[in-house]
């Protein structure tokens, strides 16, 4: 995603995927809002962003997983900066699980929404 139109389009795709996977209106609203909030922040900060969507329906606990590779130097300071950029406190409240981990190679943001609710 590189611009506002990409963000809106992705938000809609996430909402529809969540619906197709059987999630109700509130989880649909939450996960799509989390994705658009983060995407918009990252586009502002670094010009573009890429994420992966995966529905893992066969897992012991089926989930919609969204993973986001981010640039990071692995330091706690940079991780804290990333958390602030993506409004992690707010966005993590919209999903069932969220993690942001980093090492010297980069960072990975994972958002997860359980499917069997």
């Amino acid at each position: 995603m590189e611009n506002a139109l990409d963000v809106v389009t992705m938000r809609q795709e996430v909402r529809q995927l969540a619906r197709d996977l059987g999630l109700g209106l509130i989880p649909q609203a939450k996960i799509s809002t989390a994705v658009s909030t983060i995407a918009r922040a990252l586009i502002t900060a670094q010009g573009s962003t890429t994420l992966s969507l995966q529905a893992d329906e066969r897992a012991a606990r089926p989930a919609l997983n969204i993973t986001w590779p981010l640039s990071s130097n692995g330091t706690p300071e940079h991780l804290a900066h990333l958390e602030q950029v993506i409004q992690f406190d707010s966005t993590r409240s919209l999903v069932d699980e969220a993690s942001l981990i980093s090492d010297s190679h980069g960072a990975l943001l994972t958002l997860r929404m359980w499917l069997n609710r």
Binding site: R11, Q12, R15, R19, I26, A34, S36, T37, S90
Partner: protein
């Protein structure tokens, strides 16, 4: 007899656009442009659902939703918030006061609204 929904929207242009879309789905649409008129309309003729903007002249959709959800006479009415405010804290605020859905006013707004009403059993 078509179901009737209450559309709370202070922009006449946006209200008309949404109303026309819902009329295509055989819904009767009543429009209220302020919080005061909304409360009067809901108590006079309870709708099957309320579509609620956030930015209103005399209140916010958050306050109105909280009021309606805390009144036993209106708590059962599904509320779909439809708003330009699409940040995480905005959606959290809307869902925290009891809205059944929170839809951003983007290119897909009407499509998502129709789908929400369908999932709520209104359509």
């Amino acid at each position: 007899m078509p179901l009737h929904v209450l559309l709370v929207e202070d922009s006449p242009t946006q209200a008309l656009r949404i109303q026309l879309e819902l009329l295509r789905h055989d819904l009767k649409v009543e429009i209220a442009s302020t919080g005061t008129r909304t409360l009067a309309a809901v108590h006079n003729s309870p709708p099957a659902a309320i579509i609620l903007d956030v930015d209103l002249p005399d209140t916010t959709g958050y306050t109105l939703c909280r009021t309606l959800k805390s009144d036993p006479k209106t708590a059962h009415i599904p509320i779909v918030m439809l708003t330009h405010r699409d940040a995480a804290q905005d959606a959290l605020a809307g869902l925290d006061v009891g809205a059944e859905d929170y839809i951003p006013k983007d290119a897909f707004a009407e499509q998502n609204l129709v789908e929400a009403l369908r999932q709520l059993g209104i359509l």
